[in-house]
């Protein structure tokens, strides 16, 4: 099981700025190990975010996103106390969802 994401959601005016730090290897499938064998690709493909259970963002990522990916976005119409949930799914079918409260 992958490590939890670190999510911080802070109000800025009428929007909530959400910063997410995911924990993932993000292997491109192009690198080789010491023995010259290709390390298989392993990366996050789908990312989505929900505000109080309502989808607000979907994204698709390629293998060129950095290891332990960072993502920042702003949610309109959020208020303090709202729940922001972020999920990802990788190319091996593994997934993770974490939640944070807007402050």
């Amino acid at each position: 099981m992958a490590d939890p994401m670190r999510i911080r959601a802070q109000m800025a005016g009428d929007k909530a700025t959400v910063r997410v730090l995911m924990s993932h290897e993000m292997e491109t499938g192009l690198r080789k190990d010491a023995a010259g064998k290709v390390i298989p690709a392993w990366y996050i493909q789908d990312v989505s975010a929900q505000l109080n259970g309502k989808p607000v963002l979907t994204a698709q990522w390629g293998p060129s996103v950095s290891k332990n990916p960072f993502l920042q976005f702003s949610v309109r119409g959020a208020k303090a106390g709202d729940k922001i949930a972020v999920s990802w799914k990788d190319n091996k079918g593994e997934s993770r969802t974490d939640e944070a409260t807007v402050s």
Binding site: T28, L57, A59, P63, S66, F70, Q72
Partner: protein, 152 residues
């Protein structure tokens, strides 16, 4: 005959690979567009996604460092002020496949995202906004990389 057999095995493998890569629709997610992440140039990418010829525009912005010391972690921001934008793409021209990330914009989020990408070498990076009416706008910036992020 051997050739034909080899070909058949190969296509079966390919089909399995496509299915495994998430091309089959799944509830709650749009199907992962694996083909878009294989494309080598911006023109081909936009064509694949059904947009018209990209034009440079001031309504799209890309932010990032002029010089990135470590190509493994380059923080880039994409944003647009165009009200009709449906999708924002982040592209790195000289990476093995040009598309890094694709964000679908809803009414509930600002058309502005920041993320970090790997860059193999110094290259132009693009922010591409696809509008609802099929128009495609882009902005570009050059990022110099002193240490590549795709080595190994």
């Amino acid at each position: 005959m051997l050739n034909r057999r080899a070909l058949l095995t190969h296509s079966a493998k390919l089909a399995a690979l496509l299915a495994g890569a998430g091309l089959l629709p799944q509830a709650g997610h749009a199907a992962y567009n694996a083909a878009a992440f294989e494309v080598k140039t911006m023109a081909d990418l936009v064509k694949l996604l059904g947009g018209s010829t990209p034009t440079e525009s001031k309504d799209v912005t890309i932010t990032g460092p002029d010089i990135a010391e470590n190509g493994a972690v380059v923080q880039l921001g994409v944003a647009t002020t165009q009200p009709g934008a449906k999708r924002l793409l982040l592209l790195v021209e000289k990476n093995p496949s040009v598309l890094s990330a694709m964000f679908d914009i809803s009414d509930a989020v600002d058309a502005s995202f920041v993320t970090r990408v790997k860059m193999g070498q110094s290259s132009n990076v693009y922010a591409v906004a696809m509008l609802g009416d099929g128009k495609v706008l882009f902005a570009q910036k050059e990022v110099k990389v002193t240490l590549g992020g795709c080595g190994g």
